[in-house]
């Protein structure tokens, strides 16, 4: 192909633009990493000296520890239940005809546009009217509802790509639908389920706005504890905690990318 000089310059400008945008995306992360090693309690940039003491404080701070454990409990339950709910619904929608199909799907996808604070407020009011406590079940239910749209998306893609003849073969040999699902469908869509689960887990672990409305001191998750910390203190402890967070998240994503292909999970792989 022959390209004029003008076109080449345009392509070069496009690449520079992409590089600049990538820099914008990374900038806060880079800055927070550098700040976390600062020795002073007041945030200056660049830091005036270096130390690891904020990492020590972040790891030992009680609210963060407790928030981490609460977060793990909520995340483990919420993402696993969301995958079960999402998979069964996706199978029902793909394979069966039933009344109110679209209503059910519409309601479960609605948290994509209903503000999270409205959902949090609604659940808070619901438990207060029913005189129920604000325990883990409430927080877990809230997180299930919030991550479900993302799980559904990931599971739908896997089910659509599934060769249905294998299921039909099993069914024609006498397997009941439940058995077909358990021995054929689930194993075949496992990568998609795992992708959905991982996605749900990371989103749930980081969910903040709705959690702020419904958690108590006993159930507060890590982001809520972090938010309360920023409002009280201005030292780099949170920067140190953020670095740990970033490191863990990036590692998880790189592993997921290596073994599962993030592009495939996220449905952005080119098909041409």
């Amino acid at each position: 192909m022959t390209r004029s000089l003008n076109d080449k310059l345009t392509v070069l400008a496009g690449r520079l633009l992409v590089a600049a945008i990538l820099l914008f995306v990374m900038l806060p992360t880079i800055v927070v990493v550098i700040s976390s090693f600062s020795s002073t309690a007041v945030l200056f940039f660049p830091p005036k000296g270096w130390s690891l003491r904020w990492f020590e404080r972040a790891v030992n701070y009680d609210d963060f520890r407790h928030g981490f454990y609460s977060g793990l409990i909520v995340t483990a339950w919420a993402s696993s239940l969301a995958v079960i709910i999402g998979t069964t619904l996706a199978i029902a929608i793909e394979r069966y005809a039933f009344p109110c199909k679209q209503v059910l799907e519409g309601i479960l996808l609605s948290p994509l546009f209903i503000p999270h604070f409205t959902i949090g407020l609604g659940l808070l009011m619901l438990v207060s009217q029913l005189n129920l406590g604000r325990g883990y079940p409430l927080v877990i239910f809230c997180h299930i509802v919030l991550v479900l749209p993302f799980v559904l998306r990931s599971v739908y893609v896997s089910i659509k790509n599934l060769e249905q003849r294998i299921e039909l073969a099993a069914a024609s040999l006498g397997a009941s639908p439940l058995r077909v699902v358990w021995t054929i469908t689930v194993p075949l869509i496992l990568p998609g389920l795992f992708g959905g689960w991982l996605f749900a887990a990371i989103l749930s672990f980081n969910e903040f706005t709705a959690s702020l409305f419904i958690t108590t001191q006993a159930t507060q998750t890590l982001p809520v504890a972090m938010y309360n910390y920023v409002r009280e203190f201005a030292d780099p402890t949170l920067a140190a905690l953020s670095v740990i967070y970033i490191a863990v998240t990036a590692t998880l994503l790189i592993i997921a990318n290596k073994f599962l292909g993030l592009g495939k999970i996220l449905n952005i792989e080119t098909r041409h």
């Binding site: 345009t10 990538l22 992360t29 079960i84 407020l121 009217q129 098909r271």
Partner: protein, 284 residues
């Protein structure tokens, strides 16, 4: 298909339970919004429409306008920043560059609003990164106030919504056959012309859904306007929280939430209509 529906309940019951819980919670908000506020108590009084009348006070009207402006700005700037990234992500042939762009673009999404907002405080603060850089370069002589301004909030919000926008745009772009672009190029169109007349029109559905999502997310954002706006940039979300947890006026907080939800739905419907119009225009 010849499936017996006997097993259907097994597949629907879990989802139905979740849906019922969500609907009942939304119903609770509606119910609270038409109940009287009893100061100093969590109990609510009888039926009233006073909460909705109260919404017309200028402080709440301002919060609404402010939120819509913030959300619109964030969606538009977010699109301008996300589109090139999504395009590069889909069209890059080199595997490692592709992975790098993907990881860089989506990692922020998994850090949550709090961590990212906090990072922006360090970038935008008076002795933060941006001001230190500009001072060191001699561009400015006194720090610029970024914190507690709308500009600062929009900047951080664009960063918060970009990953999801990139993902949605990339999905849309990956479904466009690159042959169309090649055809345009072989007919003599330059890269910019191909982008404007082929790629962008074909990706309009993706553009709309990413704008919609960005708008809805920003509308819902709480930590960013609260921490970077520092109470000086009030939004529906921050107001709802203050009404609920500082004044304990839950009925009014509920009314404000309902009004916010209705506004979001109306704006999203308007956007949908507008794109249908744009698409039919494009076909002629």
């Amino acid at each position: 298909m010849t499936r017996k529906p006997t097993f259907l309940p097994w597949f629907i019951i879990p989802a139905t339970l979740a849906a019922v819980g969500l609907v009942v919670a939304m119903f609770a908000v509606m119910q609270f919004s038409v109940r009287a506020y009893i100061p100093g108590s969590l109990d609510v009084g009888g039926f009233t429409l006073a909460n909705f009348k109260g919404l017309f006070k200028s402080i709440y009207a301002d919060a609404f306008i402010n939120t819509v402006v913030l959300s619109a700005k964030t969606a538009i700037f977010g699109l301008l920043m996300s589109y090139p990234l999504a395009y590069a992500l889909v069209r890059t042939r080199t595997t490692w560059i592709k992975s790098a762009i993907l990881i860089i673009a989506i990692t922020p999404m998994f850090l949550g609003e709090v961590v990212r907002t906090y990072s922006w405080i360090i970038v935008l603060g008076n002795s933060g990164f941006l001001n230190s850089l500009l001072l060191a370069l001699g561009v400015i002589s006194t720090p610029i106030q970024f914190m507690f301004t709308q500009t600062g909030v929009v900047l951080a919000l664009v960063h918060v919504t970009m990953p999801i926008m990139v993902l949605m745009l990339a999905t849309a772009l990956s479904h466009i056959n690159p042959d169309y672009e090649k055809a345009a190029a072989s007919l003599g169109a330059g890269p910019i012309r191909t982008l404007l007349t082929v790629t962008i029109p074909l990706s309009i559905p993706g553009i709309v859904s990413s704008l919609t999502t960005a708008f809805a997310w920003t509308f819902s954002a709480f930590a960013t306007p609260q921490l970077i706006g520092g109470g000086r940039v009030s939004t529906v979300a921050t107001m709802v929280y203050q009404l609920g947890f500082s004044s304990m006026n839950f009925p009014f907080a509920a009314a404000l939430s309902i009004a916010g939800l209705i506004l979001t739905i109306l704006l999203l419907l308007a956007l949908k209509r507008m794109t249908r119009f744009l698409r039919t225009m494009g076909e002629h």
